[in-house]
Structure formats: C-alpha cells, structure tokens
C-alpha cells in the first residue's frame, strides 16, 4: 500500500435530494475498496475531521464526510456554522439520516466500490453513527464516545437530542464502540447500559473503554487528545473495517 489518495470537496445529494457539501477521500492505489461515511462532531465540518477522512483513504477505504451544517450556513467557516446549528437547537435526526444516506449512495456508486459501507462518528456524531446504523443498510457502525445513545438529556436541554438505543433492533451491521473511562458524556455506566441493550437485542458488538482518556481522545488538535487511547482506537477501527467492509 502506497497510501496514495485523491481528496476533494464535492456536492452530493443529501436529505430530500438537497445539494450539500461533502468532503470525499478515495484511495487510488487499490482496485476495489470498502467505504465509510464520516460523521463530524458537534464543532462541525472541520479540518481535523477532513484529516480523518483522508486517513481512511490512505488506508484503503473511500470516505465521505457530509457537511451536516451546510444548510445552516452555506460556505461559512465550520465553527460559525456549528455556532448557528447550536443556536438553532441542533439539526433534526431525520435530516442527518438523509444526508448520511446520500453519502452512502455516493460511496456505493463509485466504480471501485465493493458495495459495503460503514459509518463512524465522533462526539455528537457517535450518537448519529449509531442512529444511522439503525435505519440504513450499513455493514458496520462505529460510535466514538457518542453521548445520549442511552440516557435522556435533562429537560432544560435546548438541543433536540433524544436517546436512540430503542432503535437497536434495526442494526444490520456489527457495532464498534470506543470510549474513555474518564468521560462523563457518556459515562462508563451508560456504556455498560448500551452494551446490555445490544446484548438483549442479539447484536454483535465490540466495546473498548480506555483508561486515562476522557471525551474526544481522538482529537489530535485539542488538549483532550490521548495518544495511547487514540493509537489503540485506530487499530481497533481498522481491524473492525477489515472484518465488516473488506
């Protein structure tokens, strides 16, 4: 593997056929590949998450990251768009599912695609990755420290976030969950609760909880970055992808 890739910003069809911005990274050194939809975190469609998309492509997987805040602020800086989305109370789950479905369709239509697609999301995107895995035909679902997959947010929360564990029966693919032992969103107890729910639903899953790591331990540009947890987490991710999407 040479790690050769092509990466660019494109317009894809999202929810209800809306034209939305997306960052696409495709390996150019393989004849066929699995694919992954990358769901950005609450701070938005930012440079570090684009870097994650490129990392997948460098390792042989096509990746698309839809800009989930494109409608809120077309062309705006990611942090400005994220601020608008937050002020508006977040974005509806139905719209997220539609946008990820558009990204999934784009990936499946690539001439080099093997037809298998997974999803991965970080922070708020972790919950959204679980959600889309319950509603779309995805071969693998990776949840990186997503809060409120289980557990109901307090009533005063202005964002429209509801737990999605109740939809677990809809999961068609395996689940990989990566968490920090020091995280409070989700807490280790909530991770245990999610594991129990998946067990009860008869789903195949792998959970890893890393010591000395809290929320956002993959974020290499933030003080929350934990190199050991992140490196081990990346190894888990690529092992999981090899098993689920090829």
């Amino acid at each position: 593997m040479t790690h050769n890739l092509r990466a660019e910003t494109l317009t894809i069809q999202g929810h209800r056929g809306d034209a939305i911005e997306a960052y696409v990274a495709v390996p150019t050194d393989v004849d066929q590949h699995g694919s992954i939809v990358v769901i950005h975190h609450l701070p938005g469609y930012d440079e570090t998450t684009k870097e994650i998309a490129r990392r997948f492509a460098a390792n042989g997987y096509a990746a698309v990251m839809p800009n989930l805040y494109h409608r809120e602020a077309p062309g705006a800086d990611p942090d400005d768009a994220a601020a608008i989305a937050r002020a508006n109370g977040g974005i509806p789950d139905e719209q997220v599912v539609g946008d990820v479905e558009g990204a999934m369709n784009y990936l499946k239509a690539l001439p080099t695609a093997n037809g298998k697609v997974a999803s991965i999301g970080f922070c708020s995107g972790g919950r959204q990755s679980f959600l889309v895995g319950c509603r779309l035909p995805l071969e693998g679902v990776i949840d990186c420290y997503g809060a409120f997959v289980v557990g109901t947010p307090p009533a005063e929360f202005p964002l429209r976030v509801t737990p999605v564990v109740g939809e677990a029966a809809g999961l068609r693919g395996e689940v990989l969950g990566l968490f920090g032992a020091e995280d409070q969103f989700p807490t280790p107890a909530q991770v245990d609760e999610l594991a129990e729910a998946l067990r009860a639903a008869g789903k195949t899953f792998t959970f890893r909880t890393y010591q000395n790591a809290g929320h956002a331990f993959f974020s290499s540009d933030r003080p929350s970055y934990r190199v050991e947890a992140a490196n081990e987490g990346w190894r888990e991710i690529f092992t999981f992808l090899s098993r689920t999407v090829g």
Binding site: D80, Y145, E156, H215
Partner: protein, 91 residues
C-alpha cells in the same frame, strides 16, 4: 464535556466583524469544547445574527475564571452607570 447545554437569548447589539460593524440579534452561552482556546473546556459566547439567510458571528472562548470576572465587571459597569444613561441606551 459535550453536554450540548446551551443558554440562548435575544439581544440588541452591534458587533465588529471582519466585514465591519453589523447588527446582532441573538447570543448563545455554553461551557463546552473550545475551537481555539487551549483547554479541554471553556465558556463560549456566540453573538449572532442569523436573519436573512446569512451568518454574522462574533465568538469568544475563555476560561471559567475569566468568564466570571467578565460577567461581574459587566454588572459592575451597569450598576455604576447613572440610571438615566441606561434608559438612554434602550431604543
């Protein structure tokens, strides 16, 4: 923390943006992961105008002590100003 906890309010204000002075209509205040401030968590203030389909925003990220000092300083400045001048600023 990634709590999603966000306080929002309507306001009347002007702010200096890279495009010059603009009117602002809303604000969000929250304690969460900053974009630029070098800490895991920070108190964030977004002053916004989302009318007309565009985005006008001035963002602030600061540590908790700075945020409390700023809030107290604002209240002190208002308390020290003559009431007639405070009325004068309300259009």
């Amino acid at each position: 923390m990634c709590t999603y906890q966000t306080e929002t309010l309507r306001l009347r204000a002007s702010a200096k943006t890279p495009r010059g002075w603009v009117s602002m209509t809303d604000a969000s205040v929250y304690f969460d992961h900053p974009v630029h401030f070098p800490a895991t968590h920070a108190l964030m203030i977004d002053v916004l105008n989302t009318s007309g389909g565009g985005v006008e925003r001035v963002g602030l990220e600061m540590d908790a002590v700075s945020a409390r000092n700023l809030a107290e300083t604002i209240l002190r400045a208002l308390d020290n100003a003559p009431a007639s001048l405070l009325d004068d600023s309300v259009v």
